[in-house]
Symmetry: C2
Subunit: 259 residues, 2 copies
């Protein structure tokens, strides 16, 4: 089997979403992967099968997934079969070890996992700014609640999380503001970078005001510009493999941004 | 150092909360641990220091934590120092390997991590039923929104998650309905058990109605009663080490339950 077929990402087509954290790990390490729904004719059927509410164990013995993304890794499952793994943090932890993005020792591995989980918490809270009541209902039907939640998010949650990551970046002397842990790129850096990138899209006025006020200088001036320097990330970000934000986690509703 | 001092749980005193998932891993394996805020005079100061918004790296070189719980593991950090690890899923993954609760091989390890994360997602969504707008504001100040969110949670999210775990339990033939993965207890089982236990407290009418209607029979009739048979869990659940639910994640507001 060619390397290009070893890793198959199973995620919705056309949006970055939670699949993006996994894509960035591949692109930052120049690792070939197949983005099934975006690259395979009819690939969407595999994603629909994955989240089918009647799905049970697959032919390779993998338990069902609650939701995409999932990653199929050929040769890593039971008896040399394919492993199918869901849940973004679990995918990143597994892949991080394979792609040398998980830290130099057991302590770094544990810290990187915790930091990626914290960045993903911020990602999830971003989603809830436009869906505070129900993930099934339309934004327009929970707009009142969204205005309240987004205000709280901008005023209290963004500074809490950004302040935290600023302290971690500044305190890690080895990383020189570029890395959360140690002196090399990890999947925690990629995860935080993507969340900051998405927040700049969703809340442009809020983020710009804070950056211009000199808040979180390590994040905005050192960390954020340096992450894309790794692997083929710059080329990726300019390519059509990088999907635009739309009706996913990061949405730009001007009324939810700083006024 | 005695074994009793190797593991120190740093979490709020007097409530189960997210610390409970870590406690269950210790109790299910009869592993000694120190529950700092509940067992050490003045231990609460360590939890306050942990979440201090100015905290930076500790003397052992550990990055700060955004929030409790954290686990201090003596001898497992850099240069034989203490490792301090935050984020419940990261703590459970680390501890799961140490306490033989993490699966028999790499595939099981990955599945168990994904399943525990999914149960923790349900835990987090439970919290948001009484805090849909702001974690800082009182429930009473977001009661309208809570009524909407709790209705959606009961009618759409509980069946989605329970249906998923029912399929996983039923499809794992080796586990005979008792285990999510393989034929022995994992931290995913403990995590799911605690969330079901908490939901029975928070939404007693909803859970009872579903159980009596014959929904999710594997979860209710086989899995849920069998988990406490492991280690010293039964003794623990009857002890005063097990804290009652109060103003934490699982709250019983009758108006949010099925009417």
């Amino acid at each position: 089997m060619s390397n290009a077929n070893k890793y198959e990402l199973l995620y919705w087509p056309g949006i970055p979403g939670r699949g993006e954290f996994v894509r960035l790990a591949f692109e930052a390490t120049k690792t070939p992967y197949l983005d099934v729904s975006n690259q395979v004719e009819g690939g969407i059927r595999q994603i629909l099968a994955l989240k089918d509410e009647k799905a049970t164990y697959d032919a390779d013995g993998n338990p069902p997934a609650l939701a995409p993304p999932a990653l199929r890794i050929h040769g890593e499952g039971k008896n040399g079969k394919a492993l199918v793994l869901s849940q973004t943090p679990a995918i990143l932890a597994f892949l991080g070890e394979k792609l040398d993005l998980a830290g130099a020792d057991a302590a770094e591995k544990a810290w990187i996992q915790a930091l990626a989980l914290t960045a993903l918490d911020l990602n999830n809270e971003t989603h809830d700014t436009h869906h505070p009541v129900s993930t099934l209902a339309y934004y327009e039907d929970q707009k009142e609640e969204s205005l309240r939640r987004a205000t709280d998010f901008r005023e209290s949650r963004i500074p809490k999380f950004f302040g935290y990551f600023e302290r971690v970046l500044k305190g890690n002397k080895e990383g020189k503001g570029r890395y959360l842990v140690g002196d090399k790129l990890s999947y925690a850096d990629l995860t935080l970078w993507q969340v900051v990138h998405g927040l700049k899209f969703a809340f442009p006025k809020e983020l710009k005001a804070r950056e211009e006020a000199g808040e979180f200088p390590t994040i905005f001036k050192t960390f954020f510009p340096s992450v894309p320097e790794h692997g083929q990330l710059k080329e990726y970000l300019d390519s059509d493999r990088r999907k635009p934000y739309s009706k996913g986690i990061f949405r730009h509703y001007p009324e939810l941004d700083r006024q």
